[in-house]
């Protein structure tokens, strides 16, 4: 069996933190003594990833996805456990390892804020020791692929979220890393921008055979991109397997959200199957995938005053609940 490019065994991370309390009296007390609390952010996480895989980490906020990625990139040191990426131990922060991976964080920019993205590219060129030839070739390729010819010369703070993420991606890929970590790359973006980014990631993974770990709390991201999905909740891996199996077993339903022009009567809404929640001018339905089109058509062709209808994946909490239910 081929050796995995990423091997993780029983990874653990525990934090210490202190509790700050409200009020003048407590502020005085805090001056002298603070209570110590522990948070077990990552618990015995293990997995293997082969070269060229595009794996999705799904989980609610605070589940431990970002913490895991930070350990894999050497930013945080684990409390216990082993990691091997391309043969390296990330915690050692060896330059050879750092030259071969990249980490893009959706919420934290790695670009100079007040200057054009181009300047940040040049800085990375120097730091990653990229040759002039490689730099020019790769930059031209990315600029064309992502259609950002003028964008890279504008100040980063003037860019839209989508444009900025494209620049972040370019900055991180100029040194042709073998492993790429993406932490919530499409957070806060509109639908079009999200699609652009996803298409690029998919294409890049296929063409360059780059190993990618993508984290998100949007089911959409992972559904579109990943064939394999790892679900993390409360620091533990609760599912690790192919995407379609997950869909079939635990995400059999989709969510239809409807908002009405004005308040409607509950009987009018209740006559549709699968009603989940109803509140005056809004209703949501939990519908099995096969029946989504039919139900949506029924609602739209009824005489209810529909203002807006949205079809989305169930949120990750529902999927996780389903997994726990089955495990019992």
């Amino acid at each position: 069996m081929k050796k995995a490019i990423i091997e993780v065994r029983k990874l653990n991370k525990t934090y210490e933190y202190s509790n700050k309390k409200e009020g003048l009296k407590n502020s005085f007390r805090d001056l002298f003594k603070r209570k110590k609390l522990y948070k077990h952010a990552v618990k015995d996480v293990s997995f293997d990833i082969q070269e060229g895989e595009l794996v999705g980490f799904l989980g609610p906020n605070g589940a431990g996805k970002t913490t895991t990625l930070k350990m894999l990139s050497g930013i945080l040191t684990p409390s216990s456990g082993e990691m091997k990426i391309m043969g390296f131990d990330p915690s050692k922060r060896e330059e050879k390892y750092q030259m071969q991976f990249a980490f893009v964080m959706g919420q934290k920019s790695q670009l100079w804020w007040d200057l054009p993205a181009m300047e940040s590219f040049i800085l990375n060129k120097e730091i990653y020791e990229i040759s002039d030839k490689d730099f020019k070739e790769r930059l031209d390729e990315f600029v064309e692929l992502l259609d950002v010819k003028d964008v890279i010369y504008k100040q980063v703070r003037q860019l839209s979220l989508g444009e900025r993420m494209k620049c972040e991606l370019i900055a991180s890929l100029l040194h042709a890393p073998k492993v790429l970590f993406l932490d919530e790359p499409t957070i806060g973006m509109d639908v079009v921008a999200q699609k652009n980014i996803r298409d690029f990631i998919k294409k890049y993974n296929k063409e360059k055979k780059v190993t990618i770990i993508l984290t998100s709390h949007y089911m959409e991201d992972i559904l579109q991109l990943c064939e394999r999905i790892i679900i993390i909740n409360l620091g533990q891996v609760i599912y690790d397997g192919p995407m379609d199996a997950l869909i079939r077993k635990y995400a059999a339903n989709k969510l239809i959200s409807v908002s009405f022009e004005n308040e409607v009567k509950s009987e009018d809404v209740e006559k549709f199957e699968f009603l989940k929640k109803f509140e005056g001018a809004q209703a949501s339905f939990d519908v099995p995938r096969e029946k989504v089109k039919d139900v949506a058509r029924e609602i739209l062709s009824s005489n209810l005053p529909v203002k807006d209808i949205d079809i989305s994946e169930e949120d990750v909490d529902a999927i996780i609940r389903n997994i726990y239910v089955e495990k019992k």
């Binding site: 003048l24 502020s27 005085f28 805090d30 001056l31």
Partner: protein
Amino acid sequence: MWKRNKKYIHVAKNSFQEAIIYRVSTLAFFFSEIFSFIFIFYLWTSIYKQGGQIGNYELKDLILYYFVSNFLWITIKGTDIAWDVGDEIRMGQITNVLLRPMRYARYKFSQMLGGLAYRTSVFMVVFMLIGIFLSSYINFNIELKNILFFIIFFAIGYVINYFIFYTLGLTTFWLGLVRGFNFSLSVITGFMDGSVIPVDLLPRIVRNINDFLPFKYIIFTPVSVFNGKIQVTWETLVIPIAWIIVLYLLAKFVLNKGIKVYEGYGA
């Protein structure tokens, strides 16, 4: 009217509380000022080793001068008001300012007052302890009435300093960033207010210019009232109070102008 202003007491109280939480930076600020004083003490003592006196100050008078001046520096100038106001405007707490300008003005004043109360109460104790420790080096011949007058001029000095830097912070509406002017004004007032060297030791030309400016009332005047070098009469109060009125009106004007400028750009 009392009810309306009750919430501002809350604001002051919160600010006091925050100051306690940021105890490290307060402590650090304190040590840097104490260090400043120690340094000045050694510097002037070395200078006086030649003998004689400088201007109409003997060594012990001068040490007292710097002792009180340091206390005032810590309490009155303890926060970067211009940066604080500028930050709020830049970071978008603007909506409060735009909707209720007077409310913001009062909110800011009470918030800063909370900080002042904290610093004054803490450092009054600290300085009294240091004063006892260093009493052989300092001329502590102070009349009680001077202390009472000092309190009045302390308040005047604080208000003048507050309005100057508050107004400067408001210019963020035009300038976007006041870092340069803040630095500039701090350096200039830091010299003109008498904290580097007593104003009456400066060459005549400088003194004459300074008399037309409000700066000396921030540090020099309260210190001189404390040590008795300035006799307090009704006349001595007229000019500083006139300055307060002028600065208050200026602040109000700048605030309104600033709001119009901001709205002109379309929020």
